[in-house]
């Protein structure tokens, strides 16, 4: 019961290597940009973290599209949950031991677990998907970028522990600000859906890369808005700009997605309302 369509590589207009570069470079720029600019300019710069997360989300969705096109044998959602599951483990590890290098360590270790899962899937579980190893590595790393990016935009930093000066908390860390408060669950579901949903919603014989990625941008923007709402109630990040930019990205990407849907549809016809009882008689 393949839910992913017929086996075979997916046709892509944008080469995957460009998307990988976009995901890693954009993601890290966003995360580090938010970290430094929140200190230098002000808490409202925390929106950059969510922009980094969107880069990660688009990368993840593109990788899911490539691997799920072979037919995973189970639903596409499983791979998104796997990405975020690995991402959570690697992010906790990376941010806890890494300090300023935390996001990089998180991405490296997420890729490592992803690599191991990919190799095991092909060698032990005999899934036989040629790009499984590369795609699992990519998806896990994208999951880690998404988690670190959204956390950074929620609390304005990716430092794991509170920064305490003379007994006063001057900056909340990920441990108290995101994990203890439970916002990590929001990140888990919003980020996971953003990675798994685009391909799951668009799959089929006429699936096109640009339409799926437009959907990924749109889902990323929703995750950004959610992160902005959380940021309005956390003390060291400001949410209004995050929400505004998120809504703008959502509007642009949703209209783009709608245009692509109309382009790919054979025909769009209005059926009108159901006839009333009198009209039927």
């Amino acid at each position: 019961m393949s839910a992913g369509g017929g086996g075979g590589g997916a046709h892509a207009a944008i080469p995957q290597n460009n998307i990988i570069a976009f995901g890693i470079v954009g993601g890290l720029l966003g995360i580090y940009g938010a970290y430094f600019l929140v200190d230098i300019v002000g808490p409202y710069m925390s929106f950059l973290g969510a922009l980094g997360a969107i880069c990660g989300i688009v990368w993840g969705a593109a990788a899911v599209r490539r691997v799920a096109n072979y037919g995973l044998g189970t639903g596409v959602p499983s791979i998104g949950m796997l990405a975020l599951g690995i991402g959570i483990i690697a992010s906790t590890f990376g941010l806890a031991i890494g300090g300023i290098a935390g996001p990089v360590i998180a991405i490296v270790f997420a890729s490592l677990i992803g690599l191991v899962v990919g190799v095991l899937a092909n060698k032990v579980l005999n899934m036989g998907i040629p790009i499984m190893v590369q795609s699992m590595t990519e998806i896990a790393a994208a999951g880690a970028i998404t988690i670190v990016g959204l956390s950074t935009s929620m609390i304005g930093t990716f430092m794991f522990f509170d920064e305490v000066v003379n007994g006063v908390v001057v900056a909340q860390g990920v441990a108290t600000g995101v994990m203890t408060t439970g916002y990590i669950a929001v990140i888990f579901i919003a980020g996971g859906l953003a990675i798994l949903h685009p391909y799951n919603a668009n799959l089929g014989p006429d699936e096109k890369q640009d339409r799926t990625l437009a959907c990924a941008f749109e889902k990323g923007a929703i995750a950004m808005i959610v992160a902005g709402i959380v940021a309005t109630i956390t003390p060291f990040a400001s949410g209004s700009l995050t929400i505004l930019i998120g809504v703008a990205i959502w509007y642009v990407s949703f209209s783009g997605f709608y245009k692509l849907v109309k382009r790919d549809a054979y025909r769009i016809a209005g059926s009108g309302l159901l006839p009333s009882k009198e009209e039927l008689e």
Binding site: G73, T74, L84, G85, I89, V124, L125, T180
Partner: protein, 239 residues
């Protein structure tokens, strides 16, 4: 700098227990009757949703019940028993309500297409399987198999949670519980997806021929969870 080797040698027992928990979750998923999308249309035996959703639903309930028991006692046995029973109750309710919908809503009898006679009740199965389907609803064998599977999953999940909370560190308790729970959830999802790829998305329970594939998923889960457990123990132990 964190003394990585020191933490690993000190907490080697916790690493092994976490790995065992992951392996138990992986084994448990093989026993849960997952029907996937075909079962949602009553065209295959099992509950009509994916492995991840079913295992996560049962496993997370297990974590909640284990966490609740942890408020009251420190006894490892009671905490793990609470998690196990919580997951078993959750899967039973899910399967029971699903069964009502299949029987009273869709109007089909519970039947397995993989075996001729139900291994527990010895009832004939193949006569009741509609043409063009691979069985429908949840026969007795699948139901019991599901309860055992969720029990193993809940056992594994609460074992991971308990082992993570046994690591010595300098964190305030509130933060520690938050981090340990989210880490356990991450591990749970990883170990629910790996067997899901092994069984190709659908399985009826222990009587399904696909169940024989479980050693592969157990090996895969063992390696992955071991790696993740080291990372978790180093991260939490170094705090």
């Amino acid at each position: 700098m964190i003394d990585i080797v020191g933490i690993i040698t000190e907490d080697i027992l916790n690493i092994l227990l976490i790995t065992l928990g992951g392996v138990l979750i992986s084994l448990g998923v093989h026993l849960i009757p997952v029907g996937g999308a075909p079962a949602a249309m009553a065209q295959a035996t099992g509950v009509g949703t994916g492995t991840v959703q079913l295992a996560a639903g049962a496993g997370l309930t297990g974590l909640v019940t284990a966490g609740f028991m942890m408020n009251v006692t420190d006894s490892m046995g009671l905490i793990i028993a609470s998690g196990t029973v919580g997951a078993m109750i959750m899967i039973s309710v899910t399967m029971l309500v699903g069964q009502w919908i299949y029987v009273y809503g869709v109007g089909c009898p519970a039947a397995s297409a993989k075996v001729k006679y139900d291994p527990i009740t010895k009832d004939r199965q193949d006569l009741y399987v509609s043409q063009g389907t691979e069985g429908h609803a949840i026969p007795t064998a699948s139901f019991i198999s599901g309860i055992i599977g969720a029990g193993l999953g809940g056992f594994g999940g609460s074992l991971i949670y308990y082992s993570l909370l046994s690591i010595e560190n300098g964190l305030p308790e509130v933060d520690f519980i938050g981090i340990a729970s989210i880490f356990a959830i991450g591990l749970f999802f990883v170990n629910a997806v790996i067997p899901s790829y092994n069984i190709g998305g659908t399985i009826e329970g222990f009587h399904d021929p696909k169940f024989k594939r479980f050693p592969k998923a157990v090996v895969a889960s063992f390696v992955t969870t071991f790696l993740a457990a080291i990372m978790g123990v180093v991260a939490i132990g170094g705090m």
